[in-house]
Symmetry: D2
Subunit: 403 residues, 4 copies
């Protein structure tokens, strides 16, 4: 390729590290990119494991200290896939060092951290250095297409939204305690992990922000066995149990711009649902429904069809006319979980090369973080409504004043 190189460093080598590696590897093979990404270095604290990851994922070098990578002149973009608690420090340092940043979601563990990150991104953008947050579901072709349909007015005036993210990996109450269930380490539970995707997708597809919320967070199984979470103490009983300190279930109602009501659920206890990220948008002229377990399909209902011929259409979102799909396979040959990460890489590189702020920006990530914070505040305030941008107090307003 004759494009100039763009040298990437990846921080983290877990599930997300694997998905992002695949995206950097594959995107240039299917999309015309303005630069040629080079998989320069992968960063992780454990030398043995990060070296193995470099070989497995195909990165030229490995490194154990992200600071050394940020200091290097030959790195153009830092891709942050490490745990949420590390985002704020790495992202700000990278932006200040003039590196573009792609940061996994949720942007941070707190609204305050997210605000600092968004500030840093705003400053960097003035110097042509850009930050993006990895809400990759936006790049699922069916979801992007849903956004397009709503923007075109295909479902008319938006009436209601439903967004459920259903998983079941905690259903077994005897499953072990892990760091993901410890608030100090994980930052959040189902709300931040999968509820954040639901919020971002709804805001993206509708073009509306969540303005206020009423909700409840719940921990269904409060203690789990400490298997494999060795305390290092002799005499540790196998019956020892740890406290689950994050939410298992988040249920909330949100009011979007213009007063539209959305109902949200994020749960790890929806038995039998493996990754059922479900969206439904009801409008005056039609409706759209989606389930990630069938990610290559979109359901569309058109109220302007003749009355006897109305019904939800099962659209296979695999036509060249659908977003991103002309790059892949013939009609009817679907894509998989990781392809949206290639779309994310493609879109980011196109934007930053053109000097355009890629979306979702850190401001977008901050907005999601504020909704997460407002849900937590509402849950702590007896589920009363909380304004996303003014979370200090549970507001006493009447139904009639809302709209």
């Amino acid at each position: 390729m004759s494009q100039p190189p763009l040298r990437v460093a990846l921080v983290g080598y877990g599930f997300m590290g694997a998905a992002h590696s695949q995206a950097w590897r594959v995107a240039p093979r299917f999309f015309d990119l303005p630069v040629e990404p080079q998989m320069a270095v992968i960063v992780g604290r454990d030398r043995v494991r990060v070296e193995a990851a470099a070989e497995r994922f195909g990165w030229a070098e490995s490194e154990t200290d992200w600071r050394r990578v940020i200091e290097r002149d030959d790195i153009d973009l830092i891709d942050i896939c490490s745990p949420g608690v590390t985002h704020v420090e790495i992202a700000i340092a990278a932006l200040e060092a003039g590196k573009h940043v792609l940061c996994e979601k949720p942007l941070a563990n707190t609204v305050e951290e997210a605000e600092r990150m968004a500030d840093a991104a705003t400053r960097a953008a003035t110097r042509g250095v850009y930050a993006m947050v990895g809400f990759s579901y936006r790049r699922v072709p069916a979801i992007t297409f849903a956004r397009d349909l709503i923007a075109e007015g295909r479902i008319g005036e938006l009436r209601q939204v439903r967004a459920l993210y259903l998983q079941d990996w905690l259903v077994d109450a005897d499953g072990p305690m892990t760091w993901r269930l410890d608030k100090d380490r994980a930052g959040s539970g189902s709300l931040g992990d999968i509820g954040a995707h639901a919020i971002d997708a709804v805001q993206f597809v509708t073009g509306r922000q969540v303005q206020s919320v009423s909700g409840i967070l719940e921990t269904l199984v409060k203690e789990r066995p400490l298997l494999g979470e060795s305390t290092g103490l002799s005499g540790t009983s196998s019956e020892e149990r740890g406290q689950v300190s994050v939410d298992d279930v988040a249920l909330f109602t949100g009011r979007l711009d213009g007063g539209v009501l959305g109902s949200f659920e994020a749960t790890r206890y929806a038995t039998g649902r493996k990754n059922a990220f479900r969206l439904e948008f009801s409008g005056s002229l039609g409706a759209i429904a989606f389930d990630f377990e069938r990610m290559n399909e979109l359901e569309f209902y058109d109220s302007t069809d003749p009355v006897g011929l109305r019904g939800f259409r099962r659209i296979l979102v695999t036509e060249p006319e659908h977003p991103y799909m002309s790059a892949w396979w013939p009609t009817g040959h679907g894509i998989g979980y990781e392809h949206p990460f290639s779309h994310q890489v493609r879109d980011m590189l196109v934007d930053i090369t053109a000097g355009v702020q890629p979306r979702p920006s850190f401001d977008d990530g901050l907005q999601v973080q504020r909704v997460l914070g407002a849900v937590e505040a509402s849950s702590a305030a007896n589920s009363s409504w909380i304004f996303v941008n003014n979370q200090g107090s549970a507001l006493k307003f009447r139904t009639s004043e809302r709209k």
Copy 2:
């Protein structure tokens, strides 16, 4: 048939009157009943229309005043299908006159009315006169079967419940104002009309009552054209519009006995959903899902299946082993909307003949009414949690105190 006759009077001849007539006509042809119901008299205020209904639906006589029917010695059971506002007076008078009563849901328009009706039913039961409320969805074989599966422990410990009743008949904002949208006449909107079904079904299937709720009621389209709602005044403009005074959408979270969370939605604005009454029960060992648009199917997930073989089973609830189904057609030949009304008639007649209180009783109906009232109260109190049995005040309790 050699069974003794049971003479029935039906009050009302609308949609529900048609469905109940069909049940009284058909049930004896498919079930072994301890009495032989006779379709004696149908009651309605408009003489011409009630006479036509008698002929169309096959009732021996018609009558315009329900009081005269209650006074008759040759009537054994009053089946009340008239608007909710009339329930309290007719039901209490009938019970006091020694007539069994089958009363359509919701039991009444207010908790206070429902309490009076439940009191009358309790007194009547001591004399062997029984009252039942017509939550007919309990008798959908798939729903009855779901109840049985949960009672047998098939899904283990209940973890979460979802109950959505989705319709779309109000989607067109230019549709006319009707009495159903006027709170004075209809008593309630989507909450009482279809939300009541969701509450009863959840309580029936799980065997648990809703103890507290947090929710919001919403009117999406606040004015509609007054077509055909003539004011009797000359000069009425065709542009005159009426105020919609009932809720279009009800969104609420309920906490059931034992602390289980349920999320509820009742809406008339779910574009493309015609009668999507959806239930999902998630447990520690499995899950159950239902959608009334496919009423002959139940989905069941069994976590005790071998790990690679787990999946939601689409069970056709048409086997002779399924509730009520041995009376109908061979396997795979489904039933329709009205069949559960025959099941209701069958169960009621078996119970009252045996001197057993049929369920759902007026107490059951009262409990649903209290949940409806609590949702209204919560909506008026900024969605804060309201105890169903103590609705006077919005309670200030903390999450940690709930369970």
Copy 3:
């Protein structure tokens, strides 16, 4: 009702007798009929059982000899639900006696019988006496609607047809031998029982007749235990087995008018499929798909939709605009297996009162019988193509000559 009475006699009290009784009972309550059907007499050979059937199904009288009923002046219509072997004699006698006839499918056990019946029907029609064959699936609203859509040109030029009727009630090889598996008594196996429905539905929906066929009949389990089929001989071992002499599976390809190819399957060994009568019609502008297990739904694909928005629509065939449905319940409230029998009664009574030949006529039934015969002939002739109207010889024509 002020309509003149039409007195009906039903011959047979099995599964079909129950379904037809329900239709005679219910149709007048939901449809405006030009005559008032009266359930006069039910006929069966076993006195005890036919009397019980009269009481259970609601017929005024019972009778053990169908000839006596045909002699009566006060009977207007004979509804024949007895086994296929009896059809020819009863139907011809009834028609000659001036009674209208509704005869269950398949019309007869052989083409020769069917020809005699069709002749009798033609003669009777000249006297205003009409015969109809009970292919009730034509009156499933979704199937009637499919016919309408194709007639309107909604799927353009017809390209291909698939018709599968899948059941599984013979899957257990240790299930007992029954008369239905004995060709002498049953006349036919899956081909005549359910394959006949597939043929009639395809011909009805497309408006095209099957002209030639190539197929194979197969008996998968050739012997079954003679449980409850007592031989009357002492010393009969419980291990005695009977020979299955009918087909379990019929697979055939048919060429319709205009050369359109249809693929057909009728089987009782499709494990897990209970009554999966599936139809698919592919055309130059669209397609239609149906599965009786979801009888209230029709899938429709419109190739004239914008390219990215094409998909099979799941239409709930429950709108008042859909065939027959304005008589029943509100939108989204489906009907069951037996409702098409009411539609059949309604249509037949409207037609015979108007002096119009009801469809499917005995000629229509004869045509289906000829297709059944041609499939048997093809199976016996090494699956070579057989013309439906010239079954004597396996025709040696080349592919290039076909169209």
Copy 4:
């Protein structure tokens, strides 16, 4: 990686070239391979296009003459993705030169070619040089899993098979004539293109070969506009049309080892079906169903479930216990069309490194070719049954002799 290198040359750069390139690129990143594949050289006749393909797909070199590549000592494996007409010459030359061969399906354009290729493969195997044919659908995890379930006896004795491969890309009769519709160039139509997949998948999943067939091939649209197929003559009218000389639709019945009947369809006229490769296997104890349009799902029916609880389970084939899936993403995160090509690369490299014949072998490919030939022969012989291994004559055998 410390594994020894395996240097690959790819012949062809169309759709299949892209899919195979992705597999060589990605497989080493997700699977532990015994050798390290190196994307050495891509071959195509057009120098400009093959150079572009090398850069786009990531091959180190490009070449215009496959013979030069086969002469090179530094190439270990030839991956043949060029049109079917070229397979025989390239594959035999490569095997004789000691190169392993992966050859796209169908193996050849005629049975005779396939026989020569299979002979060459047999000879090569004695020298440790292996050939494999690219029936990649075998490596769809759901299909591999179906094979495992049947091998374990999960559906008991196999009773019936259905295999439909439905596409619709020829529905528009005004679509242009292309080389794919010209038998001289394409070799075959829907039968060889997609019907071959159906045959291989059925044989693979059931472990049984097709022994005899009866079928018909059909060309629905016989002429198409010669757009872009310039004749080189001046004055060529735009209305000029070309003759479609391949089949559009193939319908056939096959008898597998043990007498099991399978029904097959391959069509490019199934309006609305984009890549609906559907398989159904019915057995005495259960059934399995699959549709490639939902490639991450498998439906499984278990007749040994309690009677009321039987139903087709929708299994998400995304668990680590499912074939190949532990290499990819967490539960519920599906894969796409191209992943089975990585599975194919993985399996082939494991086998050839271990000195084991990879499957499907050229013998397997030859067997499919013979079935294709038998279907053609049957279609030409009035659909009479043809033995796959003795295609010279249409056999005159009776049904009773078949099993």
